[in-house]
């Protein structure tokens, strides 16, 4: 949806990262979900490269 379309909607937020931002959103009674983000594959570069190989199969 375009920016102007966004302006007409109720904001519904996915928060990824610092929990405090999510808490602030909830305190305003906004619809929000918090993603408990962790680095992909625990940051293990070998695993990330394996997963990427499979994703690239497209």
């Amino acid at each position: 949806m375009s920016v102007n379309e966004l302006f007409k909607k109720d904001l519904k937020v996915v928060n990824i990262g610092l929990k405090s931002f999510y808490n602030d959103l909830k305190s305003q009674n906004l619809t929000a979900v918090h993603v408990n983000w962790k680095p992909k594959a625990g940051g293990k570069t070998r695993m990330v490269s394996l997963l990427d190989k499979l994703k690239k199969m497209n």
Binding site: L11, L18, F21, L30, H34, N36, K38, K44
Partner: protein, 521 residues
Amino acid sequence: MIIQTIVKKNAYYDSVTLMLLSRELKKLEGVEEILVGMGTDLNIELVQNLGLFSGELESITSNDLFISAKFDETRTNLEAIEAAFVEQLNKTDQKEADDDYQPPTLKSALQYLPDANMVVVSVPGQSAADVVDEALDNDLHVMLFSDNVSVEDELRLKQKAVNKGLLVMGPDCGTAIINGAPLCFANAVRRGRIGVVGASGTGTQEVTVQIHQMGGGLSQVIGTGGRDLKEEIGGLMMIQGFQALIDDPETDLIVLISKPPAASVAEKIYRIARQSAKPVVIDFIGGDRAAIEAVGAIACISLEDAARKAMAKLNGQKVADFVGFSLPEAEIEQIVDKAVATLKPDQTELRALFTGGTLADEAMKLLGGRYAIYSNIPLSPEMAIENMPDQKGHLCLDLGEDRFTRGRPHPMIDPQTRTEFFRSHVDEQTAVILVDVVLGFGSHADPAGAVVDSVREVRERLGKVGREVVVVASVCGTDLDSQNLERSVRALESEGVIVMPSNAQAVRLTDRVFQRLEKGN
């Protein structure tokens, strides 16, 4: 004292959690110094600087967590430290235990919230681009708080966003208010007819707060991130936001806020401004006034001025530079008299300690012409703080700048850094301490209280050698903010702080005090 390190491989915790952990663990008995962090190059450097380095850190990666401690081995040991670490972590986890489900990925989150329209991203910079990509692929607008995203990635993501008609606010974007909802660091302000596109976090906050104070309201406040108006990015989001506000039926007037853009970028913006049927107020802080006015836009001399001109224009009133004060001149004179009377002849120095980058910048722009001010955001290289001889001279610091936030939370979140500077950099020669107090979402629960404590401490310390000091502040906040503007102002005033209604006026008052001091000498 010995130095030991615990390494936890592939254990991720966000930076704020780790910094707060470091702070708590430092309180342990027997611990002299401790740092908990992810094994990034920056953190390893910090460990070395703190004198905590040990061999185990040679081979860790940025995905590993380390706890480096210097402690008195007769009073504690590594096991106790690790146990305390786990306990603190459990306390955090326990608080989360009663919360709603937290999906582990964006994909999963979208199953819980299929009609999501905005993603707020504050993950470590090296991972942020991937997250933003995924958000854009899912046709979601993005607020990108993370910094340390490469210019290449920023350009690519913003181009992708523009092609899809989506927002990417950032990287390094601290402030936005979309559909009346404050995101990240923003104040609770009235909804209204003024739209803002801002590349500067606290600059945007100050303008929105001033508009609210004058009875106005904000339709949309779009952030662009600090780098948007550089040549390489070409103002992609400023332009996207600007255009959206022009097309927005709920916006009657538009304010643009940024440091001066690259020339080619300014050109593009001016072109749009020229064709805009809606009035445009452009605050390119310290920028080219003539060029702005040439396209029919309204130029500004300060953030407050931008807000005032916007309100005046909207209300059909005369639009004029605001160079004075809200209080009558006579009262200002009285305040200056009173302040100057408390100082000794050899108190001649400024200590400006800012938590908001753009507010510090505004102070530098308004004062730096007349005074030689050392700073970490100096107006010229000779005035860089490294060149400051023995803390002699005027000083103005942006405490939110990278060098002060390594391994520490931003001073808007945690006042500790400024508290330390009050202690280390305010001395018998200090005449005026100038501060900003930023309220709102994202900020500390009681920033005014922290300043009050610091001021009290400083007055006690200086009082012992028969000295007083002038403290000038402005509070960037509203009555709707949880920290409450009025309460904050009263708390500061009860500690003898001179509270001015805006950053510009606080800076101007400071200037008046120094002018009077110069005359007196």
